[in-house]
């Protein structure tokens, strides 16, 4: 139990420092039973609660809006069991993603999810928000890999489906309701998930390309020629690389001169990070080499590099994973995470850049402008774009320029306004851009049925 004002700050504020609540109480239960008792009590007294995992969310879903009680799963961090023959892994909700993956690595397996915040995010939170991440292309979404859940409902009832095996075709698949429910239907306390064998051979290629069309073409070739070993295909625009260079202060991997920081980013407008994972190094190397020869030969790709060792491999990833943090180095960031059809994906970034310029809100040099730059990057493989608007301050004028502009653009192009970050507090008013009236009504029916007093994560999502 935490009530000290200073200690409460970390639980009241999200990591972007964009959303701050006024909670006076944080509870850190150690067992599912304790969670059950807490919720039963809160439900009876009609006290609102916010379930919180690693608090790495990007839409203000994991922090209180007013004075809701924070229920943190941080003290529930035991690995329950791992079955080496089936790959079924059972953990408490508060286990840190990286800790789970490190444990699995020793057993020759891999957690089927990987994302930039892996060092601080919790497995329970990943499931509650249906996190997508860097390897969705390879391992699919959590809707497929999660086998069972242990969830405490609003009235304290415990729903336990942790025993489930891979195949279970006996009616409604209730656990799916909680995957991506953002803490609005219950608090996930345990997760059972199917973990594949860890690839023995991993290669990274980092490529420079001359246009977004070439990025698409490169992806098509990668899909057909690298086929089963392709495990990630990420694209980044030049502005995002300059942002990363500014915060990493090292030399860009494609730079051949003695430069560091922003000056080291080459002139190519687009970059691709491509990962292959397989079981035999020689086989993978040969495939990758043939692929690279082909795309260099037909000038789809103009420059690039391949990791020669483990250190280089990690360095190359930082130029993709580091963008999120680099985006807020000037004060803050407006993050949009949208799904769009591949061919119109990057046009959203261009449209936003143009709009901000026209409204005279953005400049990389003039520090009196609220916006530094709008950059785009993301998972080409999943049609998922991250639009980051790096700002010097959060400001209503910028907000009005971006919203609902971004959502309208996405809706017009038949995309989703939230590909993987969820709706949370930021996007709750915009659910209509992605879900139909019928769908919204059904969602509300479910919410009202299982949480009639509305105590679970109020003011958000729905």
């Amino acid at each position: 139990m935490i009530t000290d004002t200073n200690d409460l700050i970390a639980f009241n504020q999200d990591w972007m420092k964009k959303y701050t609540g006024q909670s006076q109480l944080v509870l850190k239960p150690k067992t599912t039973e304790q969670v059950s008792k807490i919720l039963a009590y809160c439900n009876e007294k009609k006290l609102a609660v916010v379930p919180q995992g690693g608090n790495t969310g990007l839409v203000g879903g994991s922090v209180p809006v007013f004075d809701e009680i924070v229920i943190s799963t941080a003290s529930m961090n035991n690995i329950r069991s791992f079955d080496e023959s089936s790959g079924i892994f059972k953990v408490d909700a508060g286990v840190i993603l990286e800790a789970a993956d490190t444990f699995l690595a020793e057993k020759g397996h891999i957690f089927p999810l990987d994302l930039g915040a892996k060092g601080s995010c919790f497995v329970g939170g990943n499931v509650a928000t249906n996190a997508g991440g860097l390897r969705l292309l390879r391992y699919g979404s959590l809707h497929g890999s999660v086998l069972g859940l242990e969830v405490v409902l609003a009235d304290g009832t415990v729903m336990d489906s942790m025993h489930s095996l891979r195949k279970d075709n006996t009616g409604y698949d209730l656990k799916q309701l909680f995957i991506g429910s953002e803490g609005s239907l219950g608090i996930i306390t345990g997760v059972s998930i199917l973990c594949p064998a860890r690839p023995k051979s991993v290669n990274i290629a980092f490529l420079g390309l001359e246009s977004y069309e070439k990025v698409q073409k490169c992806f098509q070739t990668a899909r057909s020629d690298l086929c089963e070993i392709l495990s990630a295909f990420e694209f980044m625009d030049r502005d995002s690389q300059q942002l990363a260079a500014k915060s990493l202060k090292t030399t860009h991997p494609l730079c051949q001169e003695d430069e560091t920081g922003v000056d080291s980013v080459p002139e190519y407008p687009f970059y691709v990070l491509l990962e292959t994972s397989g079981s035999t190094k020689e086989h993978d190397d040969e495939k990758l080499e043939n692929f690279l020869e082909k795309v260099m030969g037909d000038e789809t790709v103009v420059d690039g590099t391949v990791s020669q060792d483990e250190t280089q491999l990690r360095t190359l990833w930082t130029w993709r994973e580091g963008i999120a943090e680099a985006s807020q180095q000037f004060g803050g960031v407006y993050k949009y995470d949208v799904s769009l059809p591949l061919d119109s994906m990057y046009s959203l970034v261009e449209a936003v850049q143009e709009r901000l310029k026209k409204l005279n809100l953005s400049s990389t040099e003039d520090e009196s402008k609220p916006v530094y730059e709008a950059v785009g990057y993301g998972h080409i493989g999943d049609g998922n774009l991250h639009l980051n608007v790096a700002v010097r301050e959060y400001n209503k004028e910028v907000e009005k320029a971006l919203e609902p502009f971004v959502y309208e653009f996405v809706s017009k192009h038949h995309g989703s306004i939230s590909a993987e970050h969820g709706l949370g507090f930021q996007k709750k008013n915009y659910i209509g851009y992605s879900k139909s009236k019928v769908e919204i009504r059904m969602i509300k029916d479910i919410k009202n049925h299982y949480d009639p007093n509305g105590i679970l994560n109020p003011y958000k999502y729905i």
Partner: protein, 256 residues
């Protein structure tokens, strides 16, 4: 300077520096199966430095020859060296055999003589056995000057090579005319990524494979590994509540 410089860069393929090696079941060495191998980081720095010398002294550097002693798979690290800018390369194929520093030095000496090299730039040590002997032994066998643990190398107009070495409390500067052997330290440079166009071109560069017998060198062992053990794990610490308790604990352990 009148004569041109011919550089020899010896490189070793080792277990990737970022991985934690494990001792094998028979305790005779480290587990090598299913482990990722890469170029020894200090050797990577040596290759980078040789290429940097060429960039800064275009007319001075006549040739860069890379040589590796190891299994057939060590061709990979030679390809990388070629892509970075070495002109030619040789693999001395010794299979899976471990070669001791003295034999390595003798093999390298034969290459210095064959290639007519007058400068050897090599890693100060390989991160697998951490011997830190080859550079010194090679200089001894050749009767050349040596500058170990180089943190900065400057080739003067007069043909004198100046090398800065980081030592406790400062920098030591040593100077010598060629020929010489220089071993590289971590801060000499930061190796760059190899670009794809260079990697493609490297495929056409010569990579010769020879056997130790071709060089009339016998691989003999002077050392015997008795057993390899992990260091004992550190004991867990104890928390004390106050200074008095700390002092009594220390006394108990006879530290005071």
């Amino acid at each position: 300077m009148s004569s041109k410089i011919k550089i020899l860069v010896p490189i070793k393929r080792v277990i990737d520096a970022a991985l934690k090696p494990r001792i094998n079941k028979t305790h005779t060495g480290v587990e090598s199966k299913g482990v990722k191998y890469s170029i020894n980081p200090f050797d990577d720095i040596a290759v980078e430095e040789a290429c940097k010398m060429r960039k800064n002294h275009k007319d001075l550097i006549e040739a860069i020859h890379a040589v590796s002693i190891g299994p057939g798979k060590a061709k990979e690290v030679l390809r990388t060296a070629l892509a970075k800018g070495a002109d030619t390369s040789t693999l001395v194929d010794v299979g899976e055999e471990e070669v001791e520093p003295l034999v390595v030095s003798k093999i390298l000496k034969s290459f210095v003589e064959r290639e007519g090299s007058n400068l050897v730039v090599l890693g100060k040590q390989a991160i697998d056995d951490d011997s830190n002997q080859v550079g010194q032994m090679l200089a001894g066998l050749l009767g050349w000057s040596q500058a170990t643990n180089a943190a900065k190398i400057t080739i003067g107009k007069d043909g004198i090579v100046e090398v800065e070495r980081e030592i406790d409390g400062g920098v030591e500067v040593v100077k010598a005319p060629l020929p010489m052997v220089i071993s590289t330290d971590l801060r000499l440079n930061e190796p760059k990524f190899v670009t794809l166009p260079k990697m493609m071109k490297a495929k056409k560069k010569p990579l010769e494979v020879v056997k130790p017998t071709d060089l009339n060198i016998e691989i003999s062992k002077r050392l015997e590994t008795v057993s390899l053990e992990e260091p004992a794990p550190r004991k867990a610490g104890v928390m004390v509540n106050n200074v008095d308790e700390l002092i009594s604990k220390l006394k108990e352990l006879k530290a005071l």
